[in-house]
Homo-oligomer: 615 residues x 2
Amino acid sequence: MNETELWRELGQQLRVDSVRSAAVTKSGHPTSSMSAADLMAVLLAKYLRYDFDAPENPRNDHLVFSKGHASPLLYSMYRAAGAITDEELLSFRTFGSRFQGHPTPAIPWVDVATGSLGQGLPFGVGIALAGKKLDRLPYRIWVLCGDSEIAEGSMWEAFEHASFYGLDNLTAIIDVNRLGQRGQTMHGWDLDSYADRAKAFGWHAIEIDGHDVEAIDAAYTEAISTSGGPTVIVAKTIKGKGVKEVENKEGWHGKALDDPEHAIEELGGIRNIVVDVAKPEGDAEPHRFETGPLELPTWELGEEVATRRAYGDALAALGSGRGDVVALDGEVSNSTYAEIFRDAHPDRYFEMYIAEQQMLAAAVGIQVRTWVPFASTFAAFFSRAYDFIRMAAISQANIRLCGSHAGVSIGEDGPSQMALEDLAMMRAVHGSTVLYPSDANQTAKLVEQMADREGIVFLRTTRGATPVVYGADEDFPIGGSRVLREGDDIAIVAAGITLHESLQAAEQLEQEGISARVIDLYSVKPVDGETLRAAAEATGGRILTVEDHWPEGGIGDAVLEALSDGEAPVRVVRLAVREMPGSGKPAELLAAAGIDAEHIAEAARALVGAPVGAR
Amino acid sequence: MNETELWRELGQQLRVDSVRSAAVTKSGHPTSSMSAADLMAVLLAKYLRYDFDAPENPRNDHLVFSKGHASPLLYSMYRAAGAITDEELLSFRTFGSRFQGHPTPAIPWVDVATGSLGQGLPFGVGIALAGKKLDRLPYRIWVLCGDSEIAEGSMWEAFEHASFYGLDNLTAIIDVNRLGQRGQTMHGWDLDSYADRAKAFGWHAIEIDGHDVEAIDAAYTEAISTSGGPTVIVAKTIKGKGVKEVENKEGWHGKALDDPEHAIEELGGIRNIVVDVAKPEGDAEPHRFETGPLELPTWELGEEVATRRAYGDALAALGSGRGDVVALDGEVSNSTYAEIFRDAHPDRYFEMYIAEQQMLAAAVGIQVRTWVPFASTFAAFFSRAYDFIRMAAISQANIRLCGSHAGVSIGEDGPSQMALEDLAMMRAVHGSTVLYPSDANQTAKLVEQMADREGIVFLRTTRGATPVVYGADEDFPIGGSRVLREGDDIAIVAAGITLHESLQAAEQLEQEGISARVIDLYSVKPVDGETLRAAAEATGGRILTVEDHWPEGGIGDAVLEALSDGEAPVRVVRLAVREMPGSGKPAELLAAAGIDAEHIAEAARALVGAPVGAR
């Protein structure tokens, strides 16, 4: 069998195996796999450099299925590479199998979870940035895209950034099979429409027949020999190619074939080709950045410092002590103070402009290669990338996010710039950590811990300067809290800006003979249930929570969850932002929202006077 | 003064007033306003058709500041139009003023809140769709865009959809002042980079000097005489134009000028030009769709129907009874069943392809013109548009969202397709309504109510078929709940898929002598606190919540909030999805997550046996 015959046969094998795997549970996307089978056959047989026995090999190429629903094709490639058995392939979509409906890193050869369309290419941009700017290794990133997903704006963020950063180690392959889930795409088989857009965005574009293996071969050769920027291969394909019943027909998206036996026969039967996938050459090691000792910045008690500023200082210091730390920011580094890191470590800083989805995806891509990314923007604007954060959790990614400008306390800019749902959003991410420091020294200690924390770690910072209340030598373990003031009449639980308001309120209350315990809930998730339960016991069940956030999903809810054990009656009064704020001075807005010292004291008085468990 | 002199003078007045308004609180974005002043002067004086005395006039043009931070310019235009006094202008950014840091519909001439960049153009696409396809009136939509925000993918979703739908009533004006918040944009003053991209996306593009009023005039004339598609005017401008201290300089984004008096002098002093803004011509009324009586679909008790299917049937029926109802879907209408509406009312259905941000923005834009949009996709994919949902609340928009495929019960597709954070995300939206029906008749009744509900209304539907448990004549008011089974040993609170599991569990428990009350919490927000408190009282404080959702921010937290009054000890055990799911059959995944009937019964037994308030 010559090379082109092998490619054709391998393409058919991938189709047959896609049909077979989807037949097991009668679910999955065989037709979307069949359109791209020839594209992947040539890639696997000739271009991919990958050691399936050593997925951690830093020199491996990276293959991302942006069209994650074509998972039968991907898994069939694993079988063709000799990486999995036929039995494993046929566990597709069954309970407990790592070969799920969409690829996840439960499979060692998968870098990132896909299945929410429009994310694989942005992830690929992140890995390509790591290859070019951090690892400085010649591995390539191949991303198989669907044509439907090109409608996602995140794809154009990826096109823009890949060309801006000159990522010639990145090749996107668009499988233009014309048909989306419910019908034809906007552009059908108009290959030019894709190629013209990509070219305008600075990419090299090649249009081919995606079932002509020689044309595919030539396109890959052209792609890897193009330097200075990324290449996109726009391939005209046929959905369900090879099986008349489903070829180029609507109504067959995400469906197993009715008669798989017949389809397999039509495709020429089961094949058992095993391709010797080329391993990456050489033994070059990833670039490492030289560093000195880690010396966190410190601040004097009483100094007025914004926690966002402390974030920037601490991150820069962390970068000086650890060469694996990387920072990204969404064009607001002078507000988040990521600019301090940028100026100290320009080689490890990525300006992502106003493209929060691509920023998140870049962080995910960069951590694939074991780097330790911190990404920052206004906390409100992480809502722009929530789907990417959700998917990052499925990707088992370790990323650190810092959101500044939390809550109404930002002042004049108004509600569009105020994060008031970020705690809710971040708490509802699987395995996430949510931190909300109230002073500069605490911020620095938390930033240091973030670097080694697994999963999605979010730090919420405050715009305005607040007094330093903790000494520089104090520790703040994640999952802990701090009792800043003892008291047994009532416990006030707060974090960030409202902690300072609560401390003032407690002062006031003390003068009135009310002793208020003040708890700094700097770790909102995981939450320190023990301290909260002790506070409930000590105060006869009187707990006041105060947060610069909507009432749902934040500190109040975290406290309620911790106190839901029914050991004793607990009355939790939750002060939070309940009306849409406008512009104004921070103090005016905190007062209007009912979360300043005066309102806290007032609510505390009422709660102390109220019966708990009186019925 | 001839026309061009007037335009130049007006441009200077807008600059002066931008400087003056930002000087009041020493905050705001005067330099970003000054770059676009000439562009807006010509628009206001010659092209805009707007009746400031009648903002509800359906024939009015729509002016959207996508670069919402240029609010001083917008408000200065209001003064120049004679719509507000100088005193009102100078209330900018002060507490209680409607002239906030970024525009919101607290101002009657503002359609949509902006300030999260990259949203104004997508909103404009929505209004333009309403103009062309629904109202069928010749009003125009003018959108002032910043150059920095072009990096947002959502802008390219807007470019794509505007050209696909042939929106020649839409003109985008890009104020290419070269400087973003923290430095130069990706493309600086390379006007071609913007124009080429826009052209590739099918737009007519015009490049001009944005301070040459005659060129601006010519460009607008060209824009309004271009038919068949949208036009973009790419204007080279200078940030801070007219004041040497800040002109084209970095470090002046979002800052009031140091010496406003001097700047005003440099700009030629305060002017008091009042422009007679042209009112829209004629008295054409918006198109109205003819309809018949509203007859909701009904189902028989015990029938097996998916709530997503009931959504589609009910929405189509609603559309038959109400001509103002419009539907949009993100390329999954055969999954969400929005296709039933599409087939019944093709003129009022918009296919938004896989572009959830543009879908949300289109819904917001369409409701600006009093239409009643329902937008649907998989519930998980609304996370893609969370920033748009957040901003829609600030826009005081009335939009209805339906998210299908909730939770692990979807089965084989795996976690990327499972909404497990949607309740948390949607509850944490100001003024939102969150509904989660468990049967078809209930779904239909809720869909009907959604049409008249204000704010952001979210309906969560289930993929699999579930038995009809309610008669077709029952009512389900928003804010209510239903006790489906009486019992005093424990109360099980559930909704959607877990309600059915809970009913089965209660059956089982009854045979063991445990009487379980089952509460259908179909209205997750607002929540029926009264019924929950009564259940706590009746059961000695034993409440079990069960949800196909992460533990944070969903049904469990809603219940905890309602029971936090401390009247009596309450033990709330929250069953939820706590480990990352994979693929499998729905029943397998519900069992693995510990939220099927068996696990519910087990948890109920343990809770009934546990002491509450025992300390």
